[in-house]
Amino acid sequence: MCILGPSGSGKSTLLRCINFLEAPDEGEVFLRGERVGFKDAVPQKERDLGSTRARMGMVFQHFNLWPHLTVLGNVIESPVHVLRRPRADSLEKAKGLLAMVGVADKMHVYPHTLSGGQKQRVAIARALAMEPEVLLFDEPTSALDPEIVGEVLAVMRKLVNDGRTMIVVTHEMAFARDAGDTIVFMDAGAVVETAPPEEFFTRPRTERAQQFLQRYMR
């Protein structure tokens, strides 16, 4: 699912309400039928939210890798300390993921030495290491140089083809059109239109969607 819209429309906020990094004022979020953020209608504390969040992987616009850990360290960090998986298994899995995203040779370096595209691919591996049920992407390519955007989108396309559930906030229209199955269009803090990509990009129903497409599709 791709969430599109002009800057300030509330796309990232909506995404962050899904894993309760922002607490929604109203409304409910369900993960496989269980309500996120609440236990028996009582709001959960951070500590309890943790276990739900661990089932949703997140990739941030500015990568947000942990600088005091190596690339490999970043990827095994949460599986070992949050999910409490054995270190050896996590290491093996991590190496496989890093190879899949194409940064296996950078395993033992610290994140600050990497390019933006490499950092984001590590971030994707880090999210995948948690074996999440959903992957949340918050403008994953917005902070990247245009030449590098492609390498990250390629990894994301691979994940789509693997059948992963992904919610992607993005400005990459081509990606949304080719890889998405649903487009959620937002403007001024509200969802304005929801449609499959073929419909949204060729026959947008609402005026705001039409205006948006005119401006951004060149």
Binding site: N19, G50, M58, F60, P67, S78, L83, Y110
Partner: protein, 219 residues
């Protein structure tokens, strides 16, 4: 001069005893002061304005007073109000109180510098509470505050010298008493200077190692 130096060398045990006291006073102040400094930092960052304001005033007040004055206040001043401490308690308390104020500011600064983005990533991956603090926040606090804490340790050690005024037998006291007994001022104080330098060098080496580790991770 060589005669003076030989006298000083003859009494090396006095110097080492003094150095020993300097070292344990400094270490105790560093450990207790930095722990209390965390509490003070917490108060300085408190959302409750009264707590934050009061702590801020106290901390600034302490930092604007010469350390020697604080020692006098505690050792000579308090007995007038009925509170009497022996010289060791007075000396160590003065050191701890004074440097806790500085540690509070250091740790508060380091806390504010912790990257929100990385903490948010931690939360998104399921970290919370103590685990979040230990695995994600503390390493950053450590690397950013280490040079400042190293510097503060050197200031602590220098401040221990003031305690000779209340007859605590630390290193400067040892040098002063040797020189006044045997009339060997230059040699005696030079010996003390060299010993202070050795300790300072060791601290700076340690801090440098940490800075290198930080550089490796940061750029």
């Amino acid at each position: 001069m060589s005669h003076d130096l030989s006298i000083v060398l003859q009494h090396y045990t006095d110097f080492l005893f003094g150095l020993g006291n300097t070292l344990w006073l400094s270490a105790a102040t560093l450990i207790v002061g930095s722990l209390l400094g965390c509490v003070v930092a917490g108060l300085l960052l408190s959302p409750a304005r009264i707590v934050q304001r009061t702590t801020s005033i106290l901390v600034d007040g302490l930092r604007c007073v010469p350390f020697l004055l604080l020692v006098y206040l505690i050792y000579y001043g308090l007995p007038q109000l009925g509170i009497r401490f022996d010289r060791w308690t007075a000396g160590l308390s003065a050191l701890i109180i004074y440097h806790t104020a500085y540690f509070g500011e250091i740790i508060r600064g380091a806390w504010l510098n912790v990257s929100r983005d990385q903490v948010e990533a931690g939360r998104a991956f399921g970290y919370s509470g103590l685990l979040l603090f230990r695995r994600i926040i503390l390493p950053q606090l450590f690397f950013s505050s280490a040079p400042l804490i190293g510097n503060q340790s050197i200031y602590i050690m220098k401040d221990t010298a003031f305690l000779m005024i209340i007859t605590i037998p630390e290193l400067t006291f040892a040098a002063a008493s040797i020189q006044s007994t045997y009339f060997v001022p230059f040699a005696s104080f030079l010996a003390a200077v060299l010993l202070y330098w050795i300790v300072t060098l060791a601290i700076e080496r340690g801090v440098h190692r940490i800075e290198l580790a930080a550089e490796l991770r940061r750029a």
